[in-house]
């Protein structure tokens, strides 16, 4: 599958690496196929989540446990049903990152994480109705808090 990415030029995505989002992502409900890019660099905490069907749409995502070891999104049965698993070992959690002009103010959305069934490459974005997490956690601040 070839994406003619606005950001990275032509990228070839192997079919097996396409992640299905049956419900899309909030605000981007029409985009049902995405791919993670940049994971070959093992030292990287960040990756790109790129839409297959829109060459312009791309998020920076992070493994939230890198800066919040206590993060516990707890997807319920409804969410697990949507991604066709009941095995916690298959789950991979990613947080969408906002990168403002002042790069030191990068933040991650811990209130609506991406939950991936990595065995089947099906994913969903869940929204947690809790005060514990917000849409903007400043990553560098939180790292200092726990350091």
């Amino acid at each position: 599958m070839l994406i003619n990415s606005t950001h990275f030029g032509d990228i070839e995505i192997p079919e097996g690496e396409i992640i299905a989002f049956p419900e899309g992502i909030y605000g981007f409900e029409d985009l049902k196929r995405w791919a993670l890019l940049g994971k070959t660099d093992e030292d990287s905490s960040f990756m790109w989540l790129h839409a297959i069907d829109d060459p312009k749409i791309c998020f920076v995502v992070i493994d939230p446990f890198v800066f919040r070891k206590d993060y516990s999104p707890e997807p319920d049965e409804g969410i697990l049903g949507k991604i066709e698993t009941d095995n916690a070992q298959d789950l991979r959690v990613l947080a969408i990152v906002t990168v403002p002009e002042d790069i030191n103010r990068i933040s991650a959305n811990l209130k609506s994480p991406i939950i991936i069934n990595s065995a089947k490459n099906i994913a969903v974005q869940m929204v947690m109705d809790t005060d514990k997490y917000t849409f903007k956690h400043y990553i560098l601040d939180e790292m200092q808090k726990t350091a």
Partner: protein, 79 residues
């Protein structure tokens, strides 16, 4: 939109397996109980629009590279 008058303790059924019950009604708020199958997403509407807005803001393509981002993380962890 269907408009129905209900009192505290009364219910509404939607389809075969969704029940919405008015538990308590006050001038400044109504307490609602919902019974629905687990696969039905129930969400306060404002939370949904906040999630959409958060995503739209994040999708605005920042001109950064992942290595730049990793660098600032590394700087922090050196403390």
């Amino acid at each position: 939109m269907l408009v129905v008058m209900r009192k505290s303790g009364q219910s509404l059924l939607i389809g075969d397996n969704i029940e919405i019950q008015i538990l308590d009604a006050h001038p400044n708020g109504v307490k609602i109980g919902i019974s629905a199958p687990k696969e039905i997403r129930i969400l306060r509407k404002e939370l949904l629009s906040e999630a959409e807005n958060a995503n739209r803001e994040s999708a605005i393509a920042a001109k950064v590279s992942l290595s730049e981002l990793n660098k600032i993380l590394d700087k922090k962890t050196e403390y």
